[in-house]
């Protein structure tokens, strides 16, 4: 099966549980199981190749210029982790099916679980480190959803947030580290990076890259001092804890350390950082774990401790250390997942997982007891269980590891860690299952169905199998170790066996087990003193830091973002100008390359007009009607400017939009106060004037420096000019760009325009159905025209109507070759229709309107879209136009282009949008009790006198 498919399957499959939700819990779990099983089988098809030592690759160049490629590869290490993720995933899905209660939304749960699974598989199979980073972040996000799955639990929500904060920050550091690493190696492909050990270790950026990558790994794998999030994540449902927080996600950091082991390890910095962090984590977490009375809390800290152990082994930088690390990853995944599931069973059946309320479950839950005991003894490091072998090998490695020139330091600390590890394992068994049967359990405990004990039992078979016959796991462990080592080291000449002879490791092991038993015997007095003088809770420190950030952010937000638009605008304006000035004075410019155009008198006159109108506006903007008139003057000057500077299409558009905008604002002013009261102080006005002046100067300077230089590169317009006629069949290049070269843009724009009009319609409807309607009816009316619809105007607009429509059609048809086109003719026709509303009244016009304007907008979008789709029938791309020349006697030869159909869509959309907006405003007006005659003219000599009185 393609590697792409293996990674994609969980993501695609994540849709299924949600869809199957209605089909019931069984179907939901089944779908999830089958998806995972398919991916698992797909993975297994690569087993022969991996065993043969091949590296299977699947490559798709996605954005090669960024080095971002969707590359996957599978070698021993990737295969091992993917098999763990999918294999344990299968067990967890089975377990979760029976663990979740009827109240829990199973579709949601399994969707999150599959998302997480896909992200994890993505991490371990990614070849491209940028892809790996994306999957890395996805695991943080999906685990956030999973930890907070029980949304009603406050601990769940807080634990999820804490996990996301810590692992998310680590993820940010990791991004920096990985990008540095990629830059050093000159490639973002892991397979290439792993070949460049010397280059990377000699680079001055090695240390920063190492620290950043380790930050990512340590946060993910809960290493000291970032270990505190993992215990809080235990608020998650137990299947999640078993899956994410023992077997998979927390191993992602370990995986990454193993992945970059060939190029990053072996240096002093690596040794001290990784071994040191691992050793501290191992010891501290083991001590804390012993005193946890929550079963899952105990297991969480024990997981942290064992992750520390693996980290320490990877840190040694020796081949033997890597071998033991790989072996312990396997062993830990088996016994810890089984332990979590057992703890979940106890919690599920006894309704508590507080050790102090438990005890004596041995006879009540015999199956669970056996499973938990096997797994816990393996964790304690008792012979014949797999945990024993890897622990022995770990202790052997520590005797060869020297930290700070003290040969005894590492072995002693490792023995202490192992001692506490044995102690909490014994406590897990002793205080939960052994002892007298109690009569105060919250619920009557009994063994669950096979669906819940089956998965951990299967894992226990592995625990014992590897423990008794370690040579069975040997090929796999060697294969993975080889992949970890890469070219950096040779596989050590060792074998996995139960009996290593009487050596230092054996003595250390005996001390650990015996000491563990003694600690358990003296547990009660120790626990009391621990409770009295225990270390500070990490959560308090974390919350204090977060709260400090929140208060700082609150203060800044209250200052900058206080809800006042004027304040944002002022801050934004000042910031942009400041940045621009900074760029101007620190950057370099080239000499002017263009000759100035001569200043014609007509241009100067227009400029003066614009200047005067703008200045008057600034002075008189309080009088809103005057301000509107002055704005229109400015708009018309700009239209003139477009016409003068060789942009006829723009001039036509600007003029018609100016008309429509003026009508729109007039309608709006009908409802708004006619004057703006003067509220700003002189100081405030001065401040605003300074900001505005600075911004204006900056804008003028920017555009001026642009205008006196030629474009940096050759403008792509050359292509448009050259291909407009042969490719698009039109000589008006602007129109051909709109309907052909960049037709897709235009298509989006007419949709936006249509949406804007529909928003306006919807807002009007909302307003009219609220208390605004009553307010409108009681609105005091100002002076009204005596003759709202004068005869002269009515007659004149009716005569004009066909002429204007004719002009519209003309502009539309010639648009492809001469200035014009759908946008402009749409505006012209819209104006013709609006004029009828104005002259003859809303009622009269509405009666004669046959098609609703939303329909016209929709039809426009549809026609434009269909024209684009039509291009598929000519075997070209969406919106590529076709054209041909036809002759129908006696007319001249003429051209027909499919672009005309597209332009028709544009035309309809513009007409519909403009009219729908303006009509919406007039609907507001009509509701406000404005008199609207059913006749077009208030005074009509041809009308019968009686009806005239009625209508008046």
């Amino acid at each position: 099966m393609s590697l792409f498919l293996i990674v994609a399957l969980p993501f695609i499959g994540a849709l299924l549980p949600g869809l199957m939700y209605q089909a019931g819990r069984q179907a939901c779990a089944m779908a999830t199981f089958l998806v995972t099983l398919t991916a698992f089988i797909g993975l297994m098809t690569h087993l022969p190749a991996v065993l043969a030592g091949e590296v299977v690759q699947a490559r798709v160049d996605w954005i090669p210029s960024l080095g971002l490629n969707a590359n996957f590869f599978i070698d021993g290490l990737g295969f091992f982790f993917a098999a763990l993720i999918l294999g344990i995933g299968l067990l967890i899905i089975t377990y979760g099916r029976f663990y979740l209660s009827r109240e829990d939304n199973m579709g949601e749960f399994f969707t999150y679980l599959l998302l997480f699974q896909g992200a994890m598989v993505g991490i371990v199979l990614s070849d491209n480190i940028l892809m790996l980073l994306i999957f890395w972040e996805l695991t943080s996000l999906s685990s956030f959803l999973l930890i907070g799955y029980w949304k009603h639990l406050e601990e769940g929500r807080q634990g999820a947030r804490m996990a996301l904060t810590v692992t998310g920050m680590g993820g940010l550091a990791l991004i920096g580290g990985m990008v540095l690493l990629g830059n050093i190696a000159g490639s973002y492909d892991l397979t290439v990076i792993l070949e460049n050990r010397e280059v990377i270790q000699e680079s001055p950026m090695y240390l920063p890259a190492l620290i950043l990558i380790l930050l990512g790994c340590f946060t993910k794998s809960a290493q000291f001092p970032f270990h505190f999030w993992l215990p809080h994540a235990m608020a998650a449902p137990t299947p999640v804890s078993a899956y994410l927080h023992s077997a998979t996600m927390v191993k992602a950091g370990i995986f990454l350390m193993a992945r970059v082991w060939p190029v990053m390890s072996g240096t002093e910095a690596w040794f001290y950082l990784v071994t040191g962090a691992g050793l501290i984590t191992m010891v501290i977490a083991a001590i804390i774990a012993l005193f946890k009375s929550d079963l899952k809390g105990l297991l969480a800290f024990s997981t942290v401790s064992h992750l520390g152990l693996i980290t320490m082994l990877l840190g040694t930088g020796t081949a033997y250390g890597a071998l033991v690390a790989v072996f312990h990853i396997l062993n830990h995944a088996t016994f810890k997942a089984a332990l979590f599931m057992s703890a979940g069973i106890v919690d599920h059946e006894a309704k508590t997982r507080d050790i102090t309320r438990l005890g004596g479950l041995r006879s009540l839950m015999p199956i669970t007891f056996v499973i938990a005991t096997i797994a816990a003894l393996s964790m304690a490091g008792i012979p014949l269980f797999n945990g024993f072998i890897s622990k022995e090998m770990m202790l052997k490695e520590t005797t060869k590891t020297v930290l700070f020139d003290m040969p005894m330091l590492v072995p002693v600390l490792a023995t202490i860690g192992a001692l506490f590890s044995a102690a909490y394992s014994f406590r897990f068994i002793g205080h939960t299952f052994l002892g007298p049967v109690r009569d105060d359990y919250p619920a009557k405990p009994h063994d669950p169905g096979v669906g819940m004990w089956g998965p951990p039992a299967l894992l226990c078979v592995l625990v014992v199998g590897i423990g008794v016959a370690p040579f069975l796991a040997e090929p796999l462990v060697f294969l993975v170790t080889e992949a970890v080592l890469g070219n950096a080291a040779e596989l050590p000449d060792e074998h996995l066996k139960i009996w290593h002879g009487v050596n230092a490791a054996l003595y250390m092991s005996i001390i650990a087990v015996a000491g563990g038993l003694i600690l358990l015997a003296a547990f009660n007095p120790m626990a009391r003193s621990w409770a009295a003088a225990g270390p500070p809770a990490a959560k308090g420190i974390f919350d204090a830091i977060i709260n400090a950030f929140v208060s700082v952010a609150t203060v800044i937000t209250a200052r900058l973002h206080d809800g006042a638009l004027t304040r944002y605008a002022a801050i934004f304006g000042v910031t942009v100008v400041a940045l621009g000035v900074h760029a101007y004075f620190t950057g370099s410019t080239t000499a002017p390359t263009r000759d100035m155009l001569p200043m014609q008198p007509v241009a100067i006159v227009a400029w003066l007009l614009l200047l005067i109108a703008t200045c008057m506006l600034l002075v008189y903007h309080n009088q809103r009607y005057l301000a509107l008139v002055l704005t229109s003057v400015v708009g018309l000057v700009i239209a003139m400017g477009f016409a003068y500077l060789s942009a006829p299409d723009l001039a036509l558009t600007q003029i018609s939009v100016e008309v429509v905008t003026a009508i729109l604002l007039l309608l709006a002013l009908n409802f708004l106060p006619r004057e703006t009261p003067i509220e700003s102080s002189a100081l405030r006005r001065t401040r605003d004037g300074v900001i505005a002046g600075a911004a204006g100067l900056a804008a003028a300077g920017l555009i001026y420096s642009m205008l006196i230089r030629d474009a940096v590169g050759v403008p792509i317009s050359e292509y448009h000019l050259a291909n407009s006629k042969p490719g698009g069949g039109g000589t008006n290049v602007v129109n051909v760009i709109l309907v052909d070269f960049r037709g897709f843009d235009t298509f989006g724009e007419i949709i936006v325009l249509g949406i804007a009009a529909v928003i306006i319609y919807a807002l009007t409807e909302t307003l009219l159905s609220s208390n605004v309607r009553a307010r409108l009816l009681n609105r005091p009316m100002g002076n009204k025209a005596g003759d709202a619809h004068p005869l002269m105007m009515v007659v004149m607009t009716r005569v004009m109507m066909p002429i204007v429509l004719m002009v519209g059609v003309y502009i539309f048809l010639r648009g492809h070759n001469e200035p014009g086109g759908g946008f402009i003719s749409g505006l012209v026709v819209a104006i013709a229709l609006v004029v009828q509303y104005m002259a003859s009244g809303f009622d009269w016009a509405e009666k004669r309107q046959r098609y609703p304007y939303h329909g016209i907008i929709g039809a426009g979008v549809l026609i434009a879209g269909l024209t684009g789709i039509g291009a598929f029938f000519f075997d070209t791309e969406f919106l590529a136009s076709s054209f041909g020349y036809f002759t129908i006697p006696p007319f001249e030869e003429f051209e027909l282009a499919t672009a005309l159909g597209f332009d028709l869509g544009v035309f309809l959309c513009v007409v519909g949008a403009v009219l729908l907006s303006l009509e919406s405003f007039s609907r507001l007006g009509r509701r406000s009790g404005e008199q609207s005659s059913e006749y077009a003219m208030d005074i009509d000599p041809s009308r019968e006198p009686e009806s005239e009185e009625k209508g008046g």
């Binding site: 703008t614 006829p648 949008a913």
Partner: protein, 124 residues
């Protein structure tokens, strides 16, 4: 000629920003219209200025002004109308609902009211 265009854009920008900094909706709407003018002219001018060279192909004519900014600005003008219409509608609606056309609702949101909830409640 270039200096006229540059100063015109500067004047339009300054007027637009000054109006946007006013306290009532209508001047702010006019301000956005002015900013739109300035931006459209700016974009148009990025094709550099040319007189009597409309980008309409003709036999024997070699020089044309840059058509691409013109096409982009053409749609920008129409979209600006759509945007103005929506903003005006929102402004009118707000005024009709509350009989107040202030743009900053500072009376309802005293400074510092957005203080984040304390730690325990923050998860909800």
């Amino acid at each position: 000629m270039e200096i006229l265009i540059a100063s015109a854009v500067g004047i339009l920008t300054a007027a637009g920003i000054y109006l946007i900094l006013r306290k009532r909706t209508f001047p702010v709407i006019l301000g956005t219209a002015f900013i739109s003018y300035a931006v459209n002219v700016f974009l148009f001018a990025s094709g550099r200025l040319a007189v009597n060279q409309p980008p309409v192909l003709q036999k024997g004519v070699e020089l044309y002004s840059d058509p691409l900014p013109q096409a982009l600005v053409l749609t920008a003008i129409v979209i600006a109308f759509g945007m103005t219409a929506v903003v005006v509608m929102i402004g009118v609606g707000a005024y009709l609902s509350s009989q107040d056309d202030h743009i900053d609702d500072l009376d309802e949101v005293p400074p510092g009211a957005a203080v984040a909830p304390k730690e325990e409640g923050a998860g909800s």
